[in-house]
């Protein structure tokens, strides 16, 4: 399970992104919500969800929400997860959020992330308000019944408590070195 618990503060990080820039959690302190998603290239669960990640960013950007995807996988064993391949994926899928490389896997460990994708939603004060999966159907976007991340974002943006603040992340295990 995550080292971060609901109510904990975000763990700071500074990682290289596919855009050639360094990105830190602090640079988004003016946002109303920050969604950190541990992700990667090769995992079929991520691949099934990533269009929905792009759509969520598109839908919530005007409300001051920022998604950040972080890939911590060992690219020596999973070459699809290499930094050059990350750049290509971000370009092909038109990622509208930063896609960062956690080469040392230190951020993933600090957050206690175990799966891809795994969501950590922080409010404007950097407090964890939702942790878990994006929605309840990795297979078919049309069959989703519980849009967990969207519901949590709506609650956080409205200043309300999140009714389902924790779900079991579903996906591939993070590939540790």
């Amino acid at each position: 399970m995550s080292h971060l618990k609901i109510g904990n503060e975000a763990v700071a990080f500074k990682l290289s992104g596919v855009d050639g820039k360094e990105h830190s959690f602090d640079e988004y302190k003016d946002k109303n919500a920050v969604v950190v998603i541990f992700s990667c290239n090769h995992c079929p669960y991520v691949r099934a969800w990533e269009d929905r990640m792009v759509q969520i960013q598109a839908d919530y950007a005007s409300k001051g929400v920022q998604l950040i995807a972080i890939n911590a996988n060992d690219a020596s064993k999973y070459p699809d997860d290499s930094f050059p391949n990350m750049k290509e994926r971000a370009s092909v899928k038109k990622f509208n959020f930063p896609y960062l490389r956690d080469e040392a896997q230190s951020v993933a460990r600090a957050y206690g992330a175990e799966r891809t994708p795994e969501v950590f939603l922080f409010n404007k004060n950097g407090i964890l308000r939702y942790h878990g999966t994006i929605d309840d159907n990795y297979d078919d976007p049309k069959a989703v019944k519980q849009h967990y991340l969207r519901m949590a974002l709506d609650a956080v943006l409205a200043g309300n408590s999140v009714s389902t603040d924790e779900t079991e992340p579903v996906g591939c295990s993070i590939k540790w070195k």
Partner: protein
């Protein structure tokens, strides 16, 4: 080999022809339960009554020996229901491209049924 088998290997029969069905999975990939249910439903829809050899693959070494490209994998009469163009053998989760072009961690039932029908046709 650290492969664990859930069932004794048996041949299934359909109208006198032999069908051998193998289901390979890794515990770390959460879709295998649903994939096995889809296989059962597909077999029922095609009128196939057969035991399924279920193998859990735990190591990359076994993946290499079994030519296992990831979880879940369904083999019908020695043929993967969706053979990858460039196979990479490893204990990993597998992506399928389903009929509407989406990527999914699960094979679709139409995909499974197509492979079962093909095997029936080839054997008859």
């Amino acid at each position: 080999m650290s492969v664990r088998s859930g069932h004794e290997e048996k041949w299934g029969w359909w109208k006198g022809t032999a069908l051998k069905i193998r289901f390979l999975y890794s515990e770390d990939c959460p879709s295998h339960g649903e994939a096995l249910q889809r296989l059962h439903r597909s077999m029922e829809a095609e009128g196939i009554s057969a035991h399924i050899e279920i193998l859990r693959v735990d190591t990359d070494e076994d993946a290499e020996k079994l030519k296992y490209v990831g979880s879940p994998t369904i083999i019908v009469n020695g043929r993967d229901i969706d053979p990858p163009e460039t196979p990479h053998y490893a204990v990993t989760c597998r992506a399928y491209r389903v009929e509407d072009g989406r990527v999914s961690p699960l094979p679709s039932e139409p995909m499974i049924r197509k492979a079962l029908r093909k095997a029936k046709t080839k054997e008859s």
